[in-house]
């Protein structure tokens, strides 16, 4: 079998047009113009590049590895490839034909569907079997970053006021699983991460007009925790995107669906009712801020907790049984507002 190709001797940048003859145990390479005749035994031939989409393939010789032979004849390739020892063709690969290409596209679309639809659909089921120790570990690592940067507010009087709110809002059986921290940040935001760690940014505290607003937001975040939403969001995100880009997950920007927000709201209302805290705080905060979409500071909280008229009105009409009492005294509220100031300031 004969074919034409190009031969490079690996010493000089010369291109030799050659005729290649396949015999029973070797390749004979001949450049008649320059009087070159070489014999490459099958055992010495290494496949450098296999044909891809009908392109030429490239061979080298084990005894003279810098030499190259480029051949476009695919019949010769088929005949030769079975003769070359397996160890000399590490790059033999499956060619991407039209049908295999379609299969690839189908596989790709399936993966995208899994990521965009299947994972979110089954995230609650997967979250149920997700080890709580893992969730705790992930949450702790996240919160530690604030601790390391010295951003966690630690004014003792402020913490006392905060603990009072936690004690009233969080049911006794969940109290040891919830950890609330106020962090010095110039963005109005509050969120919960896996493991029950609630982070409230100081700007949100500044924005709040009453302790009931803070209590309402905390109750809402606890609602997310009781429904296991942070772990579900984690599962939804641990998918193709993370593997593809290797990006770190930004726990701060977990955004929940409208359904999950409504569920968290329902739990928040019942927690507030049980604790005899007015739901007006939560409603007031959302109402006041839902119109401020052009204020960058506010956008952050609303972008992760979308609040629309429907959500607010369902909060307004929700039933409460108990008569509310103030959650903090005026002086305790002032102490909470000053939680990020240094002791004695």
């Amino acid at each position: 079998m004969n074919a034409v190709g190009k031969y490079y001797d690996g010493m000089r940048a010369n291109s030799h047009a050659v005729v290649i003859t396949l015999t029973s145990y070797k390749l004979v390479i001949e450049d008649r113009e320059n009087g070159i005749k070489l014999s490459w035994e099958f055992s010495d031939i290494t496949l450098i590049e296999s044909p891809e989409f009908g392109s030429a393939f490239s061979l080298s010789n084990k005894t003279r590895p810098a030499e190259r032979l480029i051949i476009a004849d695919l019949d010769l390739y088929k005949a030769l490839i079975i003769q070359i020892p397996l160890a000399n063709k590490p790059l033999v690969r499956v060619n991407i034909t039209k049908s295999r290409g379609c299969l690839l596209v189908a596989l790709f679309i399936s993966l995208m569907i899994v990521y965009a639809w299947v994972l979110p659909q089954f995230s609650s089921q997967i979250a149920r079997v997700f080890p709580s120790s893992w969730a705790k570990y992930i949450g702790e690592r996240h919160v530690e970053t604030y601790e390391e940067k010295g951003l966690v507010c630690k004014n003792t009087d402020g913490i006392e006021s905060l603990n009072k709110i936690i004690k009233r809002i969080v049911p006794k059986e969940h109290r040891d699983k919830i950890n609330v921290q106020i962090v010095t940040e110039d963005t109005v935001n509050a969120y919960i991460v896996p493991g029950g760690h609630v982070v409230i940014f100081s700007a949100l505290l500044d924005e709040a007009e009453s302790p009931e607003e803070i209590a309402g937001i905390l109750a809402h975040e606890v609602g997310h925790h009781l429904e296991n939403h942070p772990v579900q969001a984690l599962i939804e995100r641990v998918g193709v995107a993370v593997i593809l880009s290797g990006m770190e997950m930004n726990l701060l920007n977990f955004k929940y669906s409208r359904d999950k927000e409504v569920k968290a709201d329902r739990i928040a209302i019942s927690l507030l009712d049980e604790a005899r805290v007015s739901k007006r705080g939560l409603i007031g905060f959302l109402k006041r801020n839902s119109g401020s979409i052009f204020d960058n500071k506010i956008v952050n909280y609303l972008s992760t907790h979308p609040a629309n008229e429907e959500r607010i009105s369902s909060l307004v009409v929700s039933n409460t049984v108990n008569k509310p009492t103030p959650i903090l005294s005026k002086s305790e509220w002032i102490q909470l507002k000053q939680i990020c100031s240094k002791p004695g300031v």
Partner: protein
């Protein structure tokens, strides 16, 4: 008496790079890479990258002969492991550096008044912050340059490979020096710095044993550097694309390998259009249009690069130098993605 006459200029031949890569092919390889990378938790990505590079290189044809990419997935994987280890080691070293700075600062602060102690500690924070920025910028430069050196050494044409014989560490030091000078001069030194850096890289680049020469003259760029720098605030730095285009043109025209010279027909407008369309493709397709961006990047070079001179390279011999180290080390951990740095 010798007759004085202007020697008759011989018209030099010109050649264009032919690029025959096709979008459906690139998509096929790209999709397969993604799927296999997901299935193998990212490990296949190194072999996938090689497959794509091999495809692209073999479709770049000059004077009838295709290029070849000779790197392997194993090399890239090993380089990645080395990069991770190096990054970890550098992190440990940086932490030790911080500790030393704070220890010294605390020592002096201990013997100073309260106001002075605060100033010393603030100074220590500033120094460690600067150390952090310089250290990671240097690492980034080392990563980018090492990767360029590696890729250059793995591309052959007519069986002869390229090489850049220059230390990545020296490159990083020079790069930092020039960056500082650029900042201090409010950008007015940019054209000199950029040309000097290009000269260093070009004059240490080889095709086989043929060393490249660089006849750059930064003076020709001062005007465009000055004007685009002035306009950078009102144009949100878009004016700098015109400077970038002028720099690319200048650097290509100033480079010579053996008897070959180059010309790159690029303008600021072309670059702006190129980047804008790339951005639109990536944003509108949510990243799925990435192969289009790769193809456009390679085609931009192929369509606009002209090679001037006689491609009689029979005198060029293979370099006796050892091949550049395995893989792309740090670049695979913190550097640029494939084909991002084509232009």
């Amino acid at each position: 008496m010798r007759k004085s006459a202007t020697p008759k200029k011989r018209k030099l031949s010109t050649a264009k790079i032919q690029y025959t890569g096709q979008i459906p092919h690139i998509y096929g390889i790209w999709l397969l890479n993604i799927i296999l990378s997901i299935m193998t938790l990212g490990i296949y990505s190194f072999w996938g990258r090689v497959r794509l590079r091999k495809y692209v290189a073999s479709r770049v044809v000059l004077a009838g002969d295709p290029c070849q990419y000779t790197g392997t997935g194993g090399e890239l994987f090993l380089g990645f492991i080395k990069g991770i280890l190096f990054l970890f080691l550098s992190y440990v070293l940086l932490t030790i550096g911080y500790a030393i700075i704070y220890f010294i600062a605390a020592f002096f602060a201990h013997f100073s008044g309260e106001a002075q102690a605060d100033a010393i500690m603030a100074g220590a924070s500033l120094v460690s912050g600067a150390l952090f920025v310089v250290f990671y910028y240097a690492l980034f430069c080392v990563a980018i340059f090492s990767a360029l050196r590696y890729r250059f050494s793995r591309v052959t044409w007519r069986g002869i490979r390229g090489a850049i014989k220059y230390s990545a560490f020296t490159y990083a030091c020079q790069s930092i020096k020039f960056t500082i000078l650029k900042i201090l001069s409010l950008g007015l030194y940019a054209h000199i710095a950029d040309v000097k850096l290009a000269k260093m890289v070009a004059e240490n680049s080889y095709y086989g044993n043929a060393r490249a020469k660089f006849h750059g003259n930064p003076e020709s760029l001062w005007k465009i550097n000055f004007i685009t720098m002035l306009l950078s605030i009102p144009t949100l730095a878009l004016s700098r694309l015109w400077y970038k285009a002028a720099l690319i043109r200048h650097n290509f025209q100033a480079t010579q390998i053996d008897h070959l010279r180059f010309d790159f027909d690029i303008t600021g407008g072309k670059l702006l259009g190129f980047y804008l369309v790339n951005l639109l493709i990536v944003v509108c397709t949510l990243g799925i249009g990435m192969p289009y961006v790769m193809q456009r990047s390679i085609k931009l070079v192929a369509d606009n690069l002209t090679i001037i001179g006689d491609i009689n390279t029979s005198k060029v011999l293979q370099s006796n130098e050892e091949l550049a180290g395995s893989g792309e080390g740090l670049n695979s951990v913190i550097g640029e993605p494939d084909f991002a740095g084509v232009i």
